[in-house]
């Protein structure tokens, strides 16, 4: 196999595949490696994206869209609900097909793609990352590079090998479990969000349709409140009430970074993107579109670094700066909103639902929803200046 590449991308999720495609399109030699035996499987995701977010990267295709969402229904602890229309429309993806499509685009742009290929260590010379030790089906190979893009997910080790701090505190990572369920009485265009301390402390439960009678039914809870009662036990209780019949076609689990983005995203010859860099939205836990944005940005900065022949951290820092200027800023805002959310009692949430229910049918913006919410409760109104700065 080839052992010299301009860029090695580790992890063929949305961040890695977009990064690989971006660099390969410019004619540079790219290697994209994935440790799993099949890209996109097993999924570890609730699969929801906004149409707006995804449209920047790819035209919608029915092959990887399981459902179209146009109503967000928020359930309060007392069971009352508020339906929000027009705020955001989205898709529930079929990630197995979607991820494969993105990786195939990287391959079609000229990137070499390999599965069952682990990164086992970094080649560091004079403090610079110059390559990756990989293991492909038992064969150890050293592959050299000018830039490594670590898109190796929430369990990222690559960035840590390079000396970057990607370790989340337990209160900055949610732990989630999800069933893929069938034979459900649901509205296929409605995404349900269930909020209550008893259902999902520090997080929420969701029902994301994947067709007429099928849905991702899951929940995530704070990593600091998931012991001894596990996320799975909370999900079991939720499902027993909401969909008592066992019609479970799949189970998936995972950690979701919900703190702030890691402080340093680059070092000499290496950038970190996606879940590995905690690019997930701290409030919603959503990370697909952000990962794609990070991949595209990292790819663009890698191209520039290769063109000028300088892949030092000083050059690569353009990625970090651009990220903070664009997406990072909004994630910081969501991080503050999450902080406010964690302070809400079930009573606050009940009140919020009844206020939101009155907005039903009105033309909504996210700002309007939050302003209405927080205005309803003097305690919460104090939080407005912190959130909307």
């Amino acid at each position: 196999m080839e052992t010299e590449y301009a860029v090695i991308v580790i992890g063929a999720g949305p961040a890695g595949s977009i990064a690989a495609a971006t660099v390969a399109e410019k004619g540079f030699k790219v290697l994209l490696i994935e440790k799993r035996q099949e890209i996109g499987s097993p999924i570890r995701c609730a699969e929801a994206v906004t149409k707006e977010g995804i449209s920047e990267f790819i035209d919608p295709e029915t092959r990887w869209i399981a459902a179209e969402i146009n109503v967000l229904r928020l359930y309060a602890p007392n069971g009352s609900s508020a339906s929000i229309r027009g705020l955001a429309t989205g898709y529930i993806l079929e990630r197995k097909i979607f991820d494969r499509e993105l990786a195939s685009r990287a391959a079609n742009a000229g990137a070499d793609v390999m599965v069952r290929t682990h990164a086992t260590g970094l080649l560091v010379e004079g403090g610079k990352v110059r390559g990756v030790h990989i293991n492909h089906l038992g064969e150890e190979v050293l592959v050299t590079s000018h830039v490594v893009i670590a898109a190796d997910g929430v369990e990222s080790q690559v960035a840590r090998w390079a000396g970057l701090d990607t370790l989340p505190k337990l209160r900055h990572i949610d732990t989630g479990v999800q069933y893929l369920m069938s034979d459900l009485e649901i509205e296929p265009q409605v995404a349900e969000f269930h909020f209550a301390r008893g259902i999902a402390p520090g997080g929420y439960a969701w029902v994301f349709p994947k067709g007429e009678r099928m849905a991702n039914v899951g929940l995530a809870i704070g990593g600091n409140v998931s012991h001894p009662k596990t996320a799975h036990r909370y999900l079991r209780e939720f499902v027993d009430k909401r969909f008592p019949r066992n019609a479970i076609l799949g189970i998936t689990a995972g950690g979701i970074p919900t703190g702030a983005t890691i402080r340093k995203m680059v070092t000499d010859g290496l950038m970190v993107a996606g879940d590995a860099a905690h690019h997930t939205n701290p409030l919603t836990g959503g990370g697909i579109v952000n990962a794609m944005k990070a991949g595209k940005l990292a790819g663009a900065v890698a191209i520039k670094a290769l063109e000028i022949g300088d892949c030092s951290k000083e050059t690569l820092r353009a990625y970090e700066r651009e990220w903070r200027r664009s997406v990072g800023k909004s994630l910081e805002r969501f991080y503050r909103i999450k902080g406010a959310f964690l302070g809400l009692t079930d009573r606050d949430l009940n009140e919020a639902a009844s206020v939101l229910a009155k907005l039903d049918g009105k033309d909504l913006t996210l700002r309007r929803v939050f302003m209405t919410l927080f205005k309803s409760n003097p305690k919460l109104s104090l939080l407005i200046p912190r959130i909307f700065v």
């Binding site: 440790k35 799993r36 035996q37 097993p42 570890r44 682990h118 997910g153 929430v154 369990e155 990222s156 080790q157 840590r160 370790l167 989340p168 337990l170 990572i173 732990t175 989630g176 479990v177 990593g223 600091n224 998931s226 012991h227 001894p228 596990t230 996320a231 799975h232 036990r233 189970i251 998936t252 689990a253 995972g254 950690g255 970074p257």
Partner: protein, 71 residues
């Protein structure tokens, strides 16, 4: 050892119940000592380097990891 008891580390601290593990990597993410390695369907804890901080047990969504006192 029953199939459900998995592997105890030398510390006798962390037990991996492999039949409950979904190989999701949440434990790997929170391990401050970087001693947990995950591939498709194997999860290994490097017992010599484990500091027994028990973060992995607290994060596991499926309760697949167990501490010394049955935590």
């Amino acid at each position: 050892m029953s199939p459900d008891t998995g592997i105890a580390t030398d510390h006798g601290t962390i037990i991996v119940h492999e039949v409950r593990c979904a190989y999701c990597g949440a434990c790997v993410a929170v391990c401050p000592a970087n001693v947990i390695s995950l591939s498709d369907v194997t999860l290994r804890i490097d017992d010599e380097a484990c500091t027994a901080c028990l973060q992995c047990i607290r994060i596991c969504p499926l309760g697949a990891l167990e501490g010394p006192d049955g935590d």
